[in-house]
Amino acid sequence: MTGHRLPSGGRIDRARPLSFRFAGRRYQGFAGDTLASALIANDALLVGRSFKYHRPRGIYAAGAEEPNALVQLGAGAYSEPNARATQVELYDGLTADAVNAWPSLEWDLGALTGLVSGLFVAGFYYKTFMWPRAFWNRVYEPAIRRMAGLGKAPREADPDLYDKVHVHADVLVAGSGPAGLAAALAAARAGADVLIADEQAELGGSLLAARGTLDAWLRATLDELRGMPNVRLLPRTTVFGYYDHNYLCLLERRTDHLGPAAPAGLSRQRLWHVRARQVVLATGAHERPLVFAGNDRPGVMLAGAVSTYINRYAAVPGKRAVVFANNDGAYRTALDLAEAGAQVLAVVDPRESSPGDLPAQVRARGIEILNGQAVAAATGGKRLEAVSIGPLGGGAARGVACDLLAVSGGWSPVVHLFSQSQGKLRWDEAKSCFVPGTAAQAQRSVGAANGTFALGAALAEGLNAGAEAAKDVGFGGWRAPEPPIVDDPKEAPPHPLWQVPGAEGRGKSFVDFQNDVTASDLRLAAREGFESVEHLKRYTTTGMATDQGKTSNVNALAILSDATGRAIPATGTTTFRAPYTPVTYGAMAGRDRGDRLDPIRVTPIHSWHVARGAAFEDVGQWKRPWYYPQGGEDMHAAVRREAKAVRTSLGVLDASTLGKIDVRGPDAAEFLDRVYTNGFRKLGVGRCRYGLMCRDDGMVFDDGVTTRLADDHFFMTTTTGGAARVLEWLEEWLQTEWPHMKVYLTSVTEQWATVSFAGPRAGDVLRELAPAVAVDEESFPFLSMREGVVAGLLARIFRISFTGEPSYEVNVPSHHGLALWEAVMAAGEKHGITPYGTEAMHVLRAEKGFIIVGQETDGTVTPLDLGMDWIVSKQKDFLGKRSFARPDTSRADRKQLVGLLPADPAEVLPEGAQLVWDAAESPVRMVGHVTSSYWSPNLGRGFALALVKGGRDHHGKTILAPLAGKTVAARIVAPNFLDEGGKPLHG
């Protein structure tokens, strides 16, 4: 063998060389490589620095469980932090960097200073940085931010496109290894609709890394599945979350493997939402590291990963190799290494003997097997140089120079999805691993994910599970296909070796590589009393970050169990949470970003507001004109001008967003009587009434004007933000408490456009636009409605007012809204008509002391607190009435609505300001807060509404608002700042 790439074999395409850059250096790989396999073929094992200690780290695994090889992929807006090099498919022109090296991968300051070592003992978050406190901001935090941490999130907006897919499936198979493919095949042949997903580019799982075994079966099975109309195969798709009622989420990577060559317009990733009737989990197993001194040196790798690199990628990670394993399976790696031309110096096996078939083949090749021995230490810097091998029971150790140590501490089934589905895990003593126990949902675990590691048995289990799953969804009467013949070697049981004895004194023995947690950290934590595995996890940070303990969880648990003298099952296991591997925010958002994040509702008159340069305010999902600045006006100037215009001549407001509910039926009047605090039964046809609704606890819920259109027909309006809530709530009472009532509710908010013009000239405009409508006081009194023709449009005209000025609200079918608005603007021109927005509207109504539900109220305010006794019926019953008599609701010192006039007329109190009687009191008693506060051009001063404890008894008194830097005094007054004629009362 010359170099580290085999001249033939593997699944790479030697006809398609690809060039790429890592950590500033240029390399070459082939199509079919991952970034990791290409680096290994270039003998560039060193890929990063560790999280806390900045130790050099190399590629350790070959898949999702990789703890070390996290890279910053790409640059600029397309940059992706913490991509696992083992899962990054190579493309031409790929660039990547190490994530945690400063100033560079080769020369890392953190490692040189040695400063960090003492800082990061177990529980370092809680201990090291506690004292002296002043050091935190100036010394510790900047140091940690620079030293520790992983990749960097790009600062630019994500330029990629993402999609979502929602599908149903009879059977979802997670994982396309032998067991998963077998399950998919059996279920599909039976007729079930099958979705099979695998995180890798190529389907086949462990078969892709095995020499020759079942190649023909794999090809035939994939061909058959591809040809079936009831089967969907999803490569490059990770099943990352398993939720209630067999709801699973999948992340499909569609263009990541193409890099800059990705076609424009194709979404980068798709998030699949799958509701599956049956689930088969065939997610395989992760190999466990062995814990000894220096077990993190670049060149120490999982044995299965070494085999994968050799067999699948024709990349040989080392030339002088030692294998250290407590199980028969890893002997395959010794054979693979020897086959690839590497020198296998020894297989070190802590078991007293290894009588299985694979050890026999190793022995037959003349490779030395050292039974009853262990590797106590690995030495070297940026690359492994030697290992120290000695008897387990103690005794003379010998050093062996090598550049590769393949380790295997046994296998842990990937039970993440099973555990996410609320299934209970069971410790299998014979196999030394957690396996799926009691299931909580309609699923089956098969193959290595179920602890069934032997190939033949995994295939049989998969076929069986697929057929059973199909049967459970109605495709019975089909027998599972016969499994292919597999000659599985006879294996001796593994023997757990959680930590090599005597290694502790020889250097750091890592358990969690990604979080830099050592065996001594875990033992220290246990001594300090962190005996619960959940506490241990948080205290030491083991099993956290992007890795979520894929390689470390079981080893950490076993060491904790040893330190606390409990059996492993009694020690417990941590909860696995979604996602299995990280998911981009882009995929979660899909196309629901920017303007599509939430529906945007606009009125039929919106285009006019935009053309006039209106500033908009979001009210629920509605865009409402906030104010209309003219010629460089700021908001205050614009609002002043608009509010003044309404009181002196004429203003016009787009009120189309008001909630509108059509209430109809023989019991409509009785129904309204029950939901409003005031009476509606006696309301005459054509008359309007302002009403207040309370919840049954007596608190104000919504308000609005309701008009009687006919005996059995009402038109209700609600607050803009409350429309949907009110409709739902009314429906709830009708359906659940009063189902006998004959009332139908229909939302008509969007059917009507509403133009409200107000001010002393309002009547003139209506007279001009509706010559056939009698506008005089007697024929069209306040609080009544007329149907008529306005500007040539059939309209409902409501004479109601939210400003205290004469005003008309004209409703026309939505599509005529803009025409009506323009007609009103034209007719009002000679009166100086001024369009006004929500801010001026708020000022005008506050001057009159009119409340806004949600501003003066917050769900704890009764009509009596607002001083609105006049609207609360003494005669009839209604929702909330009983609660007014509750002791708490009838307290005299409840917060009550008052007006405030700051002592300095120029002062405008901030809304939400807290109010006190005595600012010098300690602790100071808060007796109220400001609910609305504005500058009034009509009063010529600042004014506010507030809720104050027992406020009605304190009119005339001075209350204080302590603000940052000053305390503002204000006089309490009645909450109405204008007299009946609309003239200012104060100021």
Partner: protein, 93 residues
């Protein structure tokens, strides 16, 4: 995400529904003849069992109708759904 069988529409995703809390909380027939304690009990107090629970749901983004459901609060298993006014089903074992 739960798969909820609306009695009118069939199985739909949980996101279409709004939760309505404990079912069969009767509003006192004559609130003004109800004592403070009993009224407070009706307004504020709800069961919070670990296990089977009869609860109200509204198919808010579907048929907009209310119904009752028997759900296990730990496993989320749904034993039955029934319309308002239907007899109260026995809870499963």
């Amino acid at each position: 995400m739960l798969l909820i069988p609306c009695p009118w529409c069939g199985e739909r995703d949980e996101t279409e529904f709004r939760y309505g809390g404990q079912a069969h909380v009767a509003r006192p027939l004559d609130p003004n003849a109800t004592g403070d304690a009993a009224w407070a009990e009706y307004l504020f107090m709800r069961d919070n069992p670990k296990g089977w629970f009869r609860e109200r749901w509204n198919h808010a983004a579907g048929c907009r109708r209310w119904f009752n459901m028997v759900r296990h609060t730990i496993t989320h298993e749904i034993a039955s759904v029934y319309k308002p006014g239907d007899p109260k089903p026995e809870l499963p074992e």
